[in-house]
């Protein structure tokens, strides 16, 4: 099968949906001629024109708010938020308005919009351009949250997001834009709320999101060489969360590590780990471990930044410890 980059996959997904549905349009900063700083959207304006690929001023709260209004009135806007860190600027529009409109109106108004943005550190972009803020939006009922972990996932999840009748926030991993994966030419969608089992295993379950899926897969390879069998699960969407697939795996392996690039405290790993610990309690042979990013603003210095994010070696070390019955982490 052909291989394309994550960047091309996103581009294709948007182009296909814009061809299919005239009410879809896209807005954001430097999305038209420039095709975004990451060049993900290059070529779209040539096909769809500046009427549907709309360059905005640097007004994130304003244009996200406008997307909400456009979505309420028959359009299906895709908003491009250049860096995930700028989510902090649009939280009111996203969480007070978009997320609540359907509920507050008793189901009478819909907000079918997509906010595409990104996450991920280790690009030496420092504290305001390196955050992974998906936990914030995952906490707010009314929003759906998708975290593609490859080009294949990115295309399928983006298409589903555009067709969803709710506000969807989709986070791409900045470091993955040039990563290639097999992506079918034929149309496909990826259903929200269905986790992907990337690798079967029997000794430990590694639940990993977004950028950490590759890390978990590499950890699983390291472990395999040592005779430890790790199952790797990518939830794909954290809202809705496919609890059943995760729990079924842990009931089988009896051990779990949850890995995510957001800050560890009050982040994604807490939710998933606590659900496992509660709902697979009687199956667990070891405490559920969590590996998030360090609870520090992302430092610029290369000497420091890489320390803040979980690594394959780190995951393998911890997995090995619990599989071997090491109680070091338990009091």
């Amino acid at each position: 099968m052909r291989k394309i980059t994550l960047s091309q996959a996103v581009n294709e997904a948007i182009a296909e949906e814009m061809r299919r549905d005239e009410t879809v349009f896209l807005m954001g900063e430097d999305v038209a001629e420039a095709g975004t700083p990451f060049k993900v959207l290059s070529g779209l304006v040539e096909e769809f024109g500046t009427g549907r690929i709309i360059d905005t001023p640097i007004s994130e709260p304003g244009f996200v708010g406008m997307a909400v209004g456009a979505a309420m009135t028959g359009s299906r806007p895709i908003v491009d938020l250049m860096f995930g860190d700028f989510l902090f600027l649009v939280m009111d529009q996203l969480c007070n308005q978009a997320a609540k409109t359907h509920y507050m109106s008793g189901g009478k108004l819909n907000v079918p919009m997509v906010l595409r943005t990104n996450l991920g550190a280790t690009r030496r972009s420092a504290a305001q351009h390196s955050q992974s803020l998906h936990a914030l939006v995952a906490h707010i009922p009314g929003l759906k949250v998708a975290l593609p972990s490859s080009a294949y996932e990115a295309k399928g999840l983006m298409k589903t997001a555009i067709r969803d009748n709710n506000p969807v926030v989709i986070f791409e991993d900045k470091l993955m834009y040039q990563d290639k994966a097999e992506v079918p030419e034929d149309e496909y969608l990826i259903e929200f709320g269905k986790a992907n089992i990337l690798r079967q295993g029997s000794d430990v379950t590694l639940v990993a999101t977004s950028s950490m899926v590759q890390v978990a897969v590499k950890a699983a390879e390291i472990l395999a060489d040592e005779g430890i069998s790790a199952e790797v699960i990518d939830p794909r969407t954290i809202v809705p969360l496919d609890e059943e697939t995760i729990l079924a795996s842990v009931r089988k392996t009896s051990r779990a590590i949850v890995i995510d690039e957001g800050h560890q405290s009050y982040g994604i790993t807490a939710e998933i780990a606590s659900r496992i610990a509660e709902k697979a309690f009687y199956y667990l042979d070891a405490p559920v471990l969590r590996m998030g990013a360090m609870d520090v603003p992302v430092p610029f210095s290369p000497a420091l930044e890489d320390l803040t994010v979980p690594t394959a070696k780190g995951v393998a070390d911890r997995a090995r410890a619990i599989v071997r019955g090491d109680k070091a982490n338990a009091a």
């Binding site: 996200v64 708010g65 406008m66 009135t73 907000v111 009748n165």
Partner: protein, 328 residues
Amino acid sequence: MSPAKKKNSDAYLRMYRQMARIRAFEDNANQLYLSAKMPGLTHMYSGQEAVAVGICEALQTTDHITSTHRGHGHCVAKGAEFKPMFCELLGKEEGYCRGKGGSMHIADQTNGNLGANAIVGGSAGIATGAALSARQLGTDAVTVCFFGDGALGQGVLYEVMNMAALWKLPIIYACENNLYGEYTKVEEMAAGALCARAQAFGIDAFEVDGQDVLAVNKLTQDLVAKCRAGQGPFFVQLNTYRYHGHHVGDINRTYYRSKEEEADWRDNRDPITNFGAWLTQEKLVSPDELDAIRDEIAKDAKAAVDYALAAPYPAISEVDMHVYAHSA
């Protein structure tokens, strides 16, 4: 009467009736609150009726409005019925939002009301997006964004006015200057002239007497036509006054405004009384007819209140319904 005069006179009476309906609605809502029959609290529109009615009478059902925390007036003016409105205020299933929104989120999508908003300035983005949507979808719908003088403090308003101006969107920013944001005077919150804040983006801005329903209506008709012709956006500052406190619980308010000031607006500048006097003076209607209109409205309102009080709450199973819309 000549057909033209008849037509005008129909429109005038409709505006009178709509203003009276808002007043009646608010009087009943206030009563419900004072008699502890209404949950939460609410913000009365009384005194500002000519703004909502003058503007909404210049709109079609397919045009959109966004509203504020002080939103009952806009809702009635855009065509809503008493029963589902009172049901909403009381949290009943037959409310416009099945009781889930309440006073601060009342919306009526059948008439193009995209909803009240409890975030000051929170609907500026939504309204401008609705205007963008009209352009994207090729409809001729115009959007009116209602907001108070206090909302001029919210930066998002300037962001969207800039985009509306850049893209010539069919939207009217209707700033209801009732002189106060909560307990603070507009001069203490807003430096410079209010209209200048839109003019800065090259948007034409107009100041109008918000107590004069005909002046408001005339200006709006003109601006709506221009919007439909691709000449938007516009900004209108409507000078007006709220008779009650900021919300129904704001009773002792002499520390921020005088009783004399309140009395002056009520006694001399009431939009309903003054418009009624003009209508009778122009012999378009008799005082008795106006009384009859108001009586009929009072009865309607009372009936709707009784209905709403007796109406059922949503089933408890509704609590987690409508968090997400179904997708195809």
